[in-house]
């Protein structure tokens, strides 16, 4: 039987405020346990939550960026459950009147097609603390520093039809929240994570199959693997005549499988009700308009501009706008390189990205500044160095040996464009390699590469490759 996969994602993004959503405690990551958990975060009796203005503004900003309605009135509710990392016995969230509803975002599919993914809603809520299960002689350790950190939970429509689409959507949201500067996007630190609702149904069937929810996935790779595992698991069960249980599952990255969480935690009876400690949030139209005016250039707008302004193709523009820091670096490079956009795009996606990957560092830590890179690209564009030699220059710059011009000078890397000199080298090579010359002339064109290699070797790679090609072709004709 042919199966269709149906996926919806719930993404939790920590909002980049300085203080918590309902208290004045710091949200900074990595502090000593419980040093940033105040009386409100601890849920001590008699405290009153007061809403952080910036968290509300960030929520509204997100809504406007996905073309959603930002509610004039939204209400906080209590979601009741007991777990030690949530000391109040409830999480403050927004169920009935969320701050954001009815948005959407486009994702790019393979083959250059786009698909619109609906965003049902996004609501403000507080994060829970952390439980540590090791080394406490049968006890669990609780760190409440994270409790009360503002989150925006972004709920998609069940619009995705493969793990790849789910990952593409998650990346889009990840990119967007960083552009908006409402979330640092740090997945290792848990600032950005998601739950995936996965079900399958026979192709052509209207109603959805029973879904399983995979909780707390914190990397793009795991999202794809967890969903793919889950799809296979569900199809196998149904094809064996079984039924899918609606349940919450956890993804175990070590074993690459999902497994059911114990049934007690599935007891989803949260008894939501409006939080009597908090009044409704009212945002008037002029406030929403003012927030709209603070929106930066969004990824899809930037992508379009890169295509028209810098003449990039759609794929290059996509890669270079996925991360704001990368797009800023690229534009600064183009500027420094006097508008050499295509060369800059190639170098960004080639040497720069692979060097960053190899050294496991972020673009913000790149030892080469856009100005240095741009200056080097200018030297490629004006034929001072070849693209191949530029790799040597790039490496030297990476190792802190200074600007391109200095390196070219010091290492004698200047390209040889003197036709007479190159001809002389080629003449010698042709004279010394009669066998290959014969082969070439009798139609074995592959041998051409041999001559290019020899010429480059004789000039220490400094001969202008284009000139070498032209001169060799002419001379080998005989």
């Amino acid at each position: 039987m042919e199966w269709e996969v149906v996926i919806g994602l719930e993404i939790h993004a920590q909002l980049a405020t300085k203080s918590k959503i309902f208290s004045g405690a710091s949200t900074a990551y990595g502090a000593e346990p419980n040093t940033q958990a105040c009386a409100v975060d601890l849920g001590l009796p008699g405290v009153l939550p007061v809403v952080n203005k910036e968290a509300v503004a960030m929520g509204a900003k997100f809504g406007l960026a996905v073309g959603a309605q930002v509610a004039n009135r939204s209400v906080f509710d209590r979601k009741n459950y007991f777990y030690p990392d949530s000391p109040k016995g409830y999480q403050i969230s927004q169920l009935y009147f969320p701050i954001v509803e009815h948005g959407s975002i486009d994702i790019e599919l393979e083959g250059g097609k786009t698909k619109t993914i609906g965003i049902t809603r996004a609501h403000l809520e507080e994060d829970a603390g952390k439980s540590l299960h090791e080394d406490f002689h049968g006890m669990t350790g609780i760190d409440l520093n994270r409790a009360g950190t503002p989150l925006i939970e972004i709920v998609s429509e069940p619009d995705m039809r493969s793990a790849k689409e789910a990952v593409a959507y998650m990346r889009k949201i990840h990119s967007l929240v960083q552009y908006l500067e409402i979330c640092d996007g740090n997945m290792q630190e848990g600032s950005f994570r998601c739950d995936a609702n996965v079900s399958v149904r026979p192709v052509g069937q209207q109603e959805f199959g029973t879904r399983a929810e995979i909780k707390n996935i914190n990397s793009f790779r795991f999202v794809e693997k967890a969903i793919n595992y889950e799809i296979e698991r569900q199809i196998a069960i149904i094809e064996d005549g079984g039924k899918i249980a609606q349940e919450t599952r956890l993804y175990d990255a070590d074993k690459d499988e999902t497994r059911s969480m114990r049934s007690k935690e599935n007891e989803n009876d949260y008894r939501y009700f409006p939080d009597p400690d908090l009044l409704p949030i009212e945002l008037d139209d002029s406030y929403i308009q003012a927030i709209k005016e603070t929106l930066p250039e969004l990824p899809h707008e930037k992508k379009q501009r890169f295509i028209t302004e810098h003449g990039l193709n759609s794929i290059d523009a996509d890669v270079l706008t996925a991360q704001k820091a990368i797009s800023d670096f690229f534009e600064a490079t183009v500027n420094a390189a006097d508008g050499e956009a295509k060369l800059s795009a190639n170098w960004m996606q080639g040497e720069v990205m692979s060097a960053l990957n190899k050294n496991s560092i972020d673009i913000s830590e790149c030892p080469i500044t856009p100005e240095l890179l741009g200056d080097m690209i200018k030297r490629i564009a004006d034929n001072t160095i070849s693209g191949k030699i530029a790799k040597t220059v790039f490496e030297a710059m990476w190792n802190g040996e200074g600007a391109a011009d200095k390196i070219i000078e010091k290492k004698g890397l200047k390209q040889v464009t003197d036709t007479g000199l190159i001809e002389k080298v080629i003449d010698e090579i042709i004279a010394n390699n009669e066998v290959q010359v014969e082969q070439y002339r009798s139609g074995k064109e592959k041998v051409f590469g041999f001559f290019v290699g020899q010429t480059m070797k004789a000039t220490q790679g400094k001969a202008n490759p284009q000139q070498v090609n032209e001169l060799l072709k002419a001379k080998l004709k005989g």
């Binding site: 405020t17 300085k18 203080s19 208290s23 004045g24 405690a25 710091s26 000593e32 346990p33 419980n34 040093t35 940033q36 958990a37 105040c38 009386a39 601890l42 001590l44 007061v50 809403v51 952080n52 203005k53 910036e54 968290a55 509300v56 009135r73 209400v75 009741n80 007991f82 777990y83 030690p84 016995g89 009935y96 009147f97 439980s131 540590l132 299960h133 406490f136 049968g138 006890m139 669990t140 350790g141 609780i142 760190d143 409440l144 114990r262 007891e267 009876d269 008894r271 409006p274 009597p276 908090l278 009044l279 409704p280 949030i281 009212e282």
Partner: protein, 95 residues
């Protein structure tokens, strides 16, 4: 709507309340009475009326995003039954 014994037990469990079997009938009565009142209110036509989120018809005042709380961990942890290395210790939560 009137509540059964099992409803009361479930509600008590969700709220982590320990109640004695002897008290269950009176809880069931009292809670059922409250629900009857709610049913009465439900019969009123509320079409087009925004549900009240709070008895005060005010909107939420917002706070500036500033860190105003100092570290008072030692103070707070004086009342905790068990702590270690700055963590609050609770009975093991089974994963």
């Amino acid at each position: 709507m009137s509540l059964e014994k099992s409803d009361v037990e479930k509600i008590a469990h969700l709220a982590r309340l320990s109640i004695s079997d002897d008290d269950i009938p009176s809880y069931a009565d009292n809670l059922s009475n409250i629900l009857q009142l709610v049913e009465q209110m439900s019969s009123v036509d509320t079409n087009g009326i925004t549900p009240m989120a709070h008895p005060l018809s005010e909107s939420q005042r917002l706070r500036e995003d500033n860190v105003t709380e100092l570290n008072q961990r030692d103070h707070f942890q004086q009342i905790a039954p068990a702590t270690k290395n700055g963590l609050y210790l609770v009975p093991k939560v089974i994963e």
